[in-house]
């Protein structure tokens, strides 16, 4: 097990433990986030297992991508108020899940990393986080932004998925031209650690009783 992966796993475990300890006090979107983190841990561990056994870590990500999309969609469905956006999530999510499955069957098989699905999911999450920022401006709360769990969560989602989108757009390009670089994986690694650290902070600030969003 590489040091990088070990640190990543520790960070993920910290988020999961924080979420589980605070589970009763968390609002519904953050409870869903705890479930997502647990699934992420399972996916990451199994990807390592596959890498060790068949020298390919991609298969678990083909299952993880649609589940991740469903859970993020459920989180934003609970967070957003706008009826049109909710309808968009309700009808758009099944379409994207089907796309992700078709991608795994026809375009990027189980032994290829599902970058098409990741790019699509990232794009949708960027749009949802921007829409949520717009709603936050429409209905400002009388508590400081620093104490608003959804602000931290949304910032983390926006920055992380912008980076993911950007990285995987290049990933396909680099793959086509067989260009190997450590830079991409380093940036991706740093962003992932930062993302889960911010999520830990968001979970710590989230509290049902202090008026956080249900």
């Amino acid at each position: 097990m590489s040091t990088r992966f070990f640190i990543y796993l520790i960070v993920l475990t910290i988020v999961a433990i924080t979420g589980m300890v605070k589970y009763k006090k968390l609002t519904t979107p953050f409870r869903l986030l705890v479930a997502l983190i647990l699934i992420t841990i399972i996916s990451e561990v199994s990807s390592r297992f596959f890498a060790y056994r068949i020298r390919n870590s991609s298969p678990p990500y083909h299952f993880y991508a649609p589940i991740q999309l469903l859970l993020y969609a459920a989180i934003y469905f609970r967070l957003l108020k706008n009826a049109r956006t909710k309808t968009f999530i309700l009808y758009g999510t099944p379409v994207l899940v089907i796309f992700s499955m078709l991608n795994s069957i026809f375009l990027q098989d189980l032994y290829t990393f599902p970058s098409n699905s990741i790019i699509t999911i990232s794009f949708v999450l960027i749009v949802l986080s921007l829409l949520y920022f717009r709603e936050m401006l429409q209905y400002p709360l009388q508590i400081s932004l620093v104490r608003q769990s959804t602000f931290w969560f949304n910032c983390a989602v926006l920055v992380f998925f912008c980076t993911t989108f950007f990285i995987y757009c290049f990933y396909n390009y680099f793959l086509i031209y067989h260009i190997k670089t450590k830079l991409i994986s380093t940036i991706n690694y740093i962003m992932t650690i930062a993302y889960y650290s911010v999520l830990t902070f968001a979970m710590l600030t989230d509290n049902k009783s202090n008026g956080s969003k249900q």
Binding site: M136, L145, C155, F170, T181, I184
Partner: protein, 266 residues
């Protein structure tokens, strides 16, 4: 190798640009959010001061209305009763014992009635009357005055288990009720008024219906005269301040119904 370096350079440049854009966006968002929070706070403060102003105004108007009612009551009722008592006493003849006893009894009854009416008046003169009696009690007392005046036939129906709400809200509701009653007496030329107060778990419903001449609500809304419909707008404004909804339904020659719905939230 050269292609590789060029690609990495493009990647790094786009990456830096992305970081810059995201940073600017988040800073811009935080600043906008703070501005919105400040605006919202200001708006809330303005609304609160407006609420206090309306509350004070309502209290003053209720006091004015009470004084008016008292003056009318003293003039039309207590004054008359005492005058009659005085007349009785003045016409007493010691030489006619049987008639004397009757007149003494009658005068005692009249003075007793005057005392009873004065007690009732004293109750309504108390500024905390609405707070003590509650909305239903205050409305009932107000209707008693209307009934006594003989201007209108007034009926009150209470549905559901009466619950007390915020005293300040009750005061404003009572003032709205008084305004509606004044409008009916002054303009509706109605013979009968029916008040229904309905309590449910979530809602307080007050409906005031009269059988007067009614009016065209569209004309009032479309009127260019600033004074036209001012009273109605004023009532609606007051209702909005306590999160209540006030609706007016009126058909010419068929009467008017004013409905007030107040959510009973904890």
């Amino acid at each position: 190798m050269e292609v590789n370096s060029e690609n990495i350079l493009v990647f790094v440049l786009i990456g830096c640009l992305l970081v810059c854009v995201l940073s600017v966006f988040i800073v811009f968002f935080v600043l906008s959010y703070r501005k919105k929070q400040a605006d919202f706070m200001l708006e809330k403060q303005q609304l609160q001061s407006q609420y206090q102003e309306i509350l004070l105004q309502s209290q003053i108007e209720i006091q004015e209305q009470t004084l008016h009612n008292i003056s009318q009551e003293i003039h039309d009722n207590i004054g008359q009763v005492l005058s009659l008592a005085k007349l009785n006493i003045g016409t007493m003849d010691i030489n006619q014992p049987s008639q004397l006893q009757e007149k003494i009894n009658c005068s005692r009854d009249l003075v007793g009635k005057a005392i009873q009416d004065l007690r009732q008046l004293a109750k309504t003169m108390n500024t905390t009357f609405i707070t003590e009696a509650g909305l239903v009690g205050a409305i009932e007392a107000e209707l008693e005055i209307v009934r006594k005046s003989g201007v209108l036939l007034a009926h009150l129906y209470v549905e559901g288990q009466p619950v007390r709400t915020d005293p300040q809200k009750e005061l404003i509701l009572f003032r709205i009720f008084q305004e509606v009653m004044t409008n009916i007496i002054k303009h509706a030329t109605a013979e009968k008024v029916e008040i229904r107060i309905g309590f449910s778990e979530e809602l307080l419903n007050i409906t005031i219906s009269d059988n007067g001449k009614g009016f065209d609500t569209a004309t009032i809304n479309a009127s260019e005269k600033p004074a036209s419909g001012l009273g109605l707008r004023n009532m609606q404004h007051r209702a909005r301040l306590i999160d209540a909804n006030l609706s007016i339904t009126s058909i010419p020659e068929k009467g008017t119904t004013v409905a007030i719905r107040l959510p009973l939230t904890t």
